[in-house]
Structure formats: C-alpha cells, structure tokens
Symmetry: D4
Subunit: 166 residues, 8 copies
C-alpha cells in the first residue's frame, strides 16, 4: 500500500503474471497520493474470495475498484456483478490472441452491469489509475488540481520531445 490512509481504491488482478501490466495503475495512484489496496483475486480459481471482496467493497470504504485480467477475462465483470461501486476493467494482453479476447470479454457487458473498460495492456493500466483518480477528483479539489498539473506535464513533454525528431 502506497499510503497510510484507508484505501479508497483497490487494484486487483486475476494472476500474479498480470502484475507487470497492473503495476502501472499503482504507479499512478502512488504518484497522486491515493491510498490503495492491491491483491491477486481470481474469478476462476477463487470465486468465493472474489464474491467476499466485491460484497464488502463498499462497506470497507472503497470508492473505485480496478480489475485487470486476460483471455476469457471474467474478473472485472464478476466483481461488477457483486458490488455497485464503479469497476474499471483492464484487458491484459493475452499470448495467443493479443488481447482481443481480454478486451471483448471485459467490455461487452450486458445492460445492467457496467464495467468501465480501458485499453489493452500497459496504457490501459495507466489509464485505469488515472480514471480512478478522476472519479475521486469530482469530489476532491486537491486531486482535481493535481490532475491539472499532470496534464500540464504531459503538454510539456510533447514540446520537449521535438528534440528527438532527428
């Protein structure tokens, strides 16, 4: 956990092999000083653990859940089915089908149970962290202000990167 306060965000993933991708979400939360809880929870191998986690998420003070998984990626959707907190799904790139399977099995949720899906792979994980911060920022002026700073830094990097066009 990056921060001593009670976590408002959880970052869960279906396998420790997803950590290489999902740590990018944690990096963002660290950078914004948002406390989070991280854990491997498998929809298929630990369905009861997943159900407990999801059912208790709101009462445990969480405000947003980030869930990453690959292949037939059921974790984000199944957590979403068991909490009414917003769930952000990160399609981890799969070996065989490059993440097409991960993307479709996360984003194509039926009406009633949404999952906020980000891009396949690393940029999706980074953006999941940012999206969580943005959700919190709607009720937290300090985070809103930090997001402005973050965007300004992105702008500055673009200007600097022109030096590399040689």
């Amino acid at each position: 956990m990056a921060n001593e306060s009670k976590p408002e965000v959880a970052v869960v993933m279906g396998s420790s092999s997803d950590w290489e991708t999902m740590k990018r979400a944690c990096d963002i939360l660290d950078q914004f000083g948002v406390a989070y809880h991280k854990q491997v929870i498998s929809a298929h191998r630990t369905p009861e653990l997943m159900a407990d986690f999801a059912h208790n998420a709101r009462k445990n003070g969480l405000k947003v859940i980030i869930a990453g998984a690959g292949g037939a990626a059921h974790l984000p959707g199944m957590i979403a089915a068991q909490t009414t907190l917003p769930v952000i799904g990160v399609p981890v790139r799969s070996h065989a089908l490059s993440g097409w399977d991960s993307l479709l099995s996360i984003v194509q949720m039926p009406g009633g149970i949404p999952v906020a899906t980000t891009a396949v792979g690393n940029s999706g994980a980074t953006n999941a962290g940012l999206l969580a911060v943005q959700m919190l920022s709607a009720f937290n002026e300090d985070l809103a202000s930090k997001l402005e700073d973050y965007r300004n830094e992105l702008k500055e990097k673009v200007a600097e990167s022109n030096a590399q066009l040689v």
Copy 2:
C-alpha cells in the same frame, strides 16, 4: 423437464432471450430421452444463484452442465469455476458483434478451469445437447446405441438431400 427421472443434465442460460437458441439443446435431450433441468441463471444479475447452482450440481446428481450466454459471456466459465463437473458452453450470437465476443469470452478460459465450447448459435446449442449425450454414453450402452442410430439418420438425410439439387 422432458423425463420423469432425476436429471443428469442441466441446461442453463443467461437470459430468457437465449432460449430461442438453447431450446435446441433441450430438443436433443428430449430426443434421446435424457432427463434435464432447464433454468435462467445470470452470472451478472444472479451471481449467488449461480454459485449455489454450481456448488450443488454434483451432489444433486448432475453429470453434465450446458450453459449458454452471449456478449461478455461469463456464465459457462463461472459455473465451471464452481464445480468440477464438465461444463459445455454455447456462445449465443450477439447483436452487435455477431458472437465473436460470446465465443472468445467462453472458449479462452485460463489453464485450470475448462469449458467445452461449441459453435456460435443454433448449431452450437444442438451440439451441446449431443455432446452431453456423448459424455453420458461412455457409461451408458443404450445411449451409445441411440447415438449410432442418430448418426445413421444423418447419413440417410444426406442421400435424400441430393433430390434438392435442382
């Protein structure tokens, strides 16, 4: 239920709109005189019902479960995660993406939790029924014999269908 005996097969589906497809599995079970239980169980809307169903499946005497769903189709995989009975998954054709989403989110299960996947749509449902009968037939000579008859009928229909090539 097509048969007074205790069901050895269950046919479940994520929504009543899947029935148009899934009834083809039931037609096959009726045709082979295999008792079955049919029910709408939604992974996303009734996850506890799904968990109960799956956990009790073996002790309730089931030998095979057929599960059909469309879109981000988590039902077959999530039932498979909560029972060690064989689970057959039928990808129901989705409106927007024609079943590519259903197929990938059913078939691409991670190592450890298999789902026996059939074709997208009607032929997949028919084949799910047949696959269940074939699994039972390995331990039931009567069903094995009926399957031989069924195959012979398929052969005869091919011969007859030549009359339609005009």
Copy 3:
C-alpha cells in the same frame, strides 16, 4: 433535462442519429433521478464547441460526462483530452463495420488520457448511464441505495423469466 436540479451528468453524442442508442443512458439517469444535460456535439464538425464544452465542464458543476459516437469515434477521447472529469465512451454501432471501428477508436486511448468504455450499442448506452450513477453513488448514499434496489429488480426479473422457457 429530466430534473430541475443543476445537472451533474452530461450526455453528448456526435450526431442526432446516435440518439436512438444514447437515449438509453438518459433513461437510466431519469430512472435514478439524476439531473443531466444532453446535446449533440461533434468532434469533427464542431471542434470549438467541443473544446468549450470540455474546458468548462468541471466549472459548470458536471461530475461525469457520457459521450457516444460511431465509426472513427473521436468525441469521447477528445473531450477526455480537454477535461479532467471522468469521461464514459459509448461505441455506437456503425453501419459498415458493426462497431468494431467505434469500439477501437474509443477504447484504445494512449496512457495519460483515459476513456471509460462500455459495450457497443444499446447495452453500452444503458451501462454508461449506470456507470455515471455508480460514480456518483460513491459519494451519495441515496444513489447507492437506489442502485441496490435496481440490482434486486434485475434479480427478480431473472426468476420471472423462467416462465418464458417453453
């Protein structure tokens, strides 16, 4: 607008032809009593209007933006680029390529600028409305409670739908 209070949610879309899809998001917001603003804003035909809308969104009291578009769907990502509020993107089903283009051009955002993407078409629009409510619910117990009720209704409908399996 469904509600006299100052809107916390905006529902924007690239073309009036997207309304058939996007009205499902508004239906959800109406159902939950969440005030919203709806408008056609085109990334390609009205880029200045889009920029103004996005830059002023937070100061106008919005907390979440829902944006729907089809084809080379740039509206959600370009609004996201110009606000730090959370933006939910709905891929509207396109004629030629069935929404594959809409989905990829919304979900595959680069690291730094997230869009919370939902499913292609109607269920995606419904879920965009729900996702907005869920984001607000993290800071609004009344909405959290209504979401519980909504989920319970979904459950009940599953039970009732068994009657249709004939």
Copy 4:
C-alpha cells in the same frame, strides 16, 4: 503411456510439432493417474489411420478423445465424425494467423457432430486434459475427489502469489 491400465483417454495430434502444446494435456492425465494413449494422427496425411482410430475408439475401451491441430485444423472434427465418443479439440496456435484459423475450424462444427473446444494453445491443452478427467469423474468418485484437491491447490497458489506483487 503414463499408466499400466488400459487407456480410457487418447491424446492425438496432427503433427509432432503440436507436441510442445499437447504434452500439457498428457501432464494433467499423468498427474491424475489416468491412463492414456498418445499418437500423431494426421487428418490430411493419414486419413485412413484416422478413420480406423476413430471407428475403433469405443470398442478399444476409450471414453474420451483429445485431438489437437493447427491451421485448417480438421482432425478433431473428422474424428468426431467417425465416433460417438466425446471429442475434445485443442486449437494449436498457428504461425501466420495466431490460431484464429485453428480455433474457427475446430469450434464451428455443424449441428450433428460436436467437438468440445478449448482455448488456443497451452492453456487449451491443459484444459483438455482436465476436461477429460472431469468427464470421467462423473462416474468415478476418486477422480472427483482428486479434482477437488486440484482446485484447492489452485486456490492456495492464488493466495501465495500475492507475495509477487512488488
């Protein structure tokens, strides 16, 4: 063969290059103590051998057949056409099209002749082995019990894997 008893499972594959994938099915059968027969049988290069194998499978005491192949993968479907035993098809990842061809030519069987398809590549081969064990377990309490143990081990590994999130 992993076991002195008469094999109840056969693991066949279209080419020796499929062994790298298919050995994962054999590993599972070894682990569960299920006797199996393994062999290269090519639908295209040895169609008569395939026909003989399939026609005699049931009378040779087999209960389940696992068949892996890549590209225009006809082996699982053509074996299924010549036996009424359940056939599990494993789409081996192809070089050019990453297994999309293998997957579709195995899973999209016409109504009448089912193939129980698993995921593309290694996890599909592992799951083919497990699926065979699960089919047998419906009539074998010892295997059912071992499957419970296997699942419990999967659960434990999830808990342990949290240590790797650093």
Copy 5:
C-alpha cells in the same frame, strides 16, 4: 448432369443448403459445355462416402473436383487429402460468422495437401466453375477459345454498364 459425356468435373457440397451458392459453379460448367457430376457429400455426416468418392475420383475419369462447404468446412480439405486431383474449395457464407470460419478452414491447409480456394459465397462458386474450365483449357484448345469469348463478353458488359450511372 449438363452433358452426355463422361464428367471431367465433380461439384460436391456439404449440405443441400449449399446448393443456392454452388449452383453458380454448375451454371458456368453448363455454359462452357463441360460435363459434370453433382452430389451432396458431407465430410461429417458421410465420411465413408467422402472417402470412396475421393479415392475413386481419378480412376472415374474426373480431372477436377469442386467442393463447397460452410462453417468448420472440412469437405474440400478432406477430399484433397484422399485424392491427388486438384480440389477447388468454395467457402459458403455461414450465418453466424459471415464466412470467416468457412474461409479459414478451407484456405489454411498445411503444406502437403493443397486446396485451391475461391472467394466466400456466390462469386467464389462462379469462379470455382471458371477455374475448373481454365485448368481443363490448358489441354483443350476449344475451352481456351471459349474462355477468350467469355472474357470478351465481360469486357463488353463493362462498356454497356456505363449507361447505368445516372
């Protein structure tokens, strides 16, 4: 049969439902006066019939075989596996996946057993007929001359079709 002479071409298809497509191949053969044999032969429902047909094709005087099928379309490849005559495969458009499955399961044959694949659907069937005529024309000047005439008619139709651009 379109012609009293001994057929040099066979047009076979997996199901009578493929006739709507495959008759276009026969139309071409009729138009060029090439004798042909047409028949429903199913790889999956009549594998022995298929094997007999393929094994005897050359000795029965056939020079080319046209085979059409849809979905997991194994007929062209399995005939090709059992004859050394050239086999032309026509991917019939499938309902669920629009013929992507038919195309890949016909064209992606492994090295050693070729199938000459044409386009999905009607134009593929027309072209299968033409391809058969072209193969024969390499050894038949009359057919070569008729092919020239056919091409000239195509050219003339292009000129005439300009009248329709209004």
Copy 6:
C-alpha cells in the same frame, strides 16, 4: 527542415515514438526537394496546439498535412476537422493490436471530414510522403517529372532484384 523554402508540407505525429515510422515520409520529401515542417503534436496531450496548428495551416502557406498516430489515433481526423487542407493519415503500428486500432480510427471518418489514409506502418509513411508530392505535382511540372523518374527507378529495381532469387 530539408529545404530553405517556405514549407508546403507539414509532417506531424502524436508522439516522438512515431518518428521511427514517420521519418520515412520526411525521407521522401527530402528526396523530392519539397520543403516541410516536422513537429510532435498530440491530439490528446496538446489539443490547443493542435487546434492552432490546424487553423493556421492554410494561412501559413501549407498545402498538405501528413499526420501519423497509433492506437486510438485521433490526430489526423482532428486536424482534418480544423482545416480544409488535405490531410494524409498514417496509421502507426500499435503494440497490442498491431495497428488495427490505428487504421480504423483514422480511416473510418464520417462523411464531411475526410482523411486520406495510407497503409499501417513504414510503407504507409513512405506513401504519405509520395502522396503529398503527387498532390503538389498536379500543379508543379517539375515534381511531376521527378515522380516519373522515381517510378522508373522502381521499375529498374524490379529487374535487378531477379538476381536475388537463388
């Protein structure tokens, strides 16, 4: 800048990581002696810079704009939305989805705002440079003549390349 004259072409790209691809467009412009301006401009990180660039493009003397981007590639379309100069879009190959996302989000523009799209990756960048030269050549006989020479060199290379078939 390759040439002292006022640039008629601009080559812009969403990130410095696109330079590896986009430099091929600049190589062509250098080779034809066409003055150009090159710059990193990000639709998502620097939307105001993009708007300024596009709005002033024509008055700054530009005649064609080449824009390359990957993933949810909005740069070409959003520049096209803010100028009436012709915009050439180059889909840069993305890591996860191999450029399918880049291609669709550039080419599938709605009626009203065109983007002239070239191939994914290096050959697309080369061709973007050539396409810009060809557009200018319609009003510049010197460039038209150089294009003839370029084509003749391509022809000669084909003849020479036969030596490599060993």
Copy 7:
C-alpha cells in the same frame, strides 16, 4: 458530367453496382461546381482500358482520380500504379465480408505506390469527393472559400439537430 469545363477529376468504379455508393462523390463535386468525368472501369474485366485511362490521365488534364471498388479491390491501386496523379480509393462495402476485404486491398499498398483511402461505403464516397476538392483548393481560392462555407453548414446542422433529441 456536372459541368461544361474540362474535367479535373475522374470518378471511376469497378462495376455499375458501385454507383449507388460512388454517386455520393459525384454529388459533392456537383455541389462544389467541380467538373468531373465518371466511368465504369474494371481492373479485372477491362485491364487495358484501365491502363489507357491511367496512362493518359495527366495529359488529359485530370488532377485527381477517385476510384471505388469492392472485395479484392484492385482498381485504385492499379490505377495508382500507372499514373503519378493522386488516386483516392473508396472501399465499397462487400456482401460477404462487409468491406473488410475492400478496405485492406485498397489501403495496404506497398511503399512506392500510394492510394489515399477513405472510409468503407457511403461516407467514404462523400469524403472522396471532398478530398478531391480539398486537393484542388490548395491552388484555388474559390474552392477554399466554398469549403469554409461547407464546414460552416455542417456546424449549423449540428446545432439544429439538437431538436431531434426527444
């Protein structure tokens, strides 16, 4: 022909069945008062006509060529191979594969021979017309001014379309 002046644009298509799509390009040219020549030219049925057309295009005063075709759409690329004028390719939506084949066979040109590709179907044809006008506008202030007007009309339609959100 929409205009008495010598045409600067040609609109060609592979078949009269493409006219339903391609007339949208002509509508735009009519609307902007740009003289054009329209004709059915088939790469496959009239290759000599195509070669003559392309070789003479520049000397006949053409400045831009618009070419539409579907399926294995070779017309735009083969014209581009035989002229150094800019060629705009419109992928006409194909029956079987929805235009995926048309798109890829037009846009994926090898380095050296560019085709400026627009979207699949109607919006691509409209945009081909606009792109031609935009190319000419770089050297024609009157067209540049008309393009501004056209864009302003698009903007106004967006504002008006809000009335339809009910």
Copy 8:
C-alpha cells in the same frame, strides 16, 4: 530453372523479399521434375511487364502460373485478369497485419476472374507448387504416379514422428 525442358509453370512474385516464401513452390517443382520459370514481377512497379507476361503466358507454353505477393496483393488477380490460364495465388505474410491483407486481397476476387488461393505463408507456397503439379497430373500419368509416392512419404513421416512425442 530446374529443368531443361520448356517450362509449363511460372513462379512469379511481387518482390525479391517474397522469395524466402516462394522458393518453397520452386522446391516442390524441382522435386517433381517440372520445368518452371521464376521472376520478380510487380503489379504496382512494373504493370506493363505484368501485362506482357500475362498476355503471352499461354502462347509461351505455360499451363499454370503461381503468383505470390503480400499486403494489398494485386499481382495474382491482375495476372488472372490478363490470361485465361489457371493462376494460383500465394498470400505472403505481411509485417503489419500478419497476412490478413494479403489473403483477402488475393482470395476475394469478383465473379469472372478466379484466383486459386492457398494458405498464408510457407505452407501456401509449398501447396502452390503441389497444386500446379496436380493440375498437370490430370493429363500426365507420370506426375500422377509421383504424387502418389509423395503422399505415401507424407504418411510414412507421420508414423515416424511418433518417436518425437517424449
């Protein structure tokens, strides 16, 4: 050329970079003692050379043409448009899109102009060689007999390959 006799087969390819793939077709022709001519001919860079080659193919004694190309692969179809000899098209695997573009732009030919398409990449090239031999074999008993031998060798290799399953 592998053989002193006048060639009955030509193996042409769009670029010398295709040789790595296409040499597999030549290997087969060498193995069967079939004389062939090999040459780089580019549809896009040398369209006149292609037209000459195709128009003279039949009178030069060719009986079959094998053409390989990648990306927007127009060579097989454009040769087919300019000869009535059978043309076999080999989709060479492309870098960006793995050969999906090559496959579709070769196989999806319009009714009237067929191309006999084989698999993407190496196995497609091998099979193109075999398909040419099979076409000739319909009128050449020696080749028919060699094809039988070739098939028998394939069979024997299958048997031997069982030794590798360890």
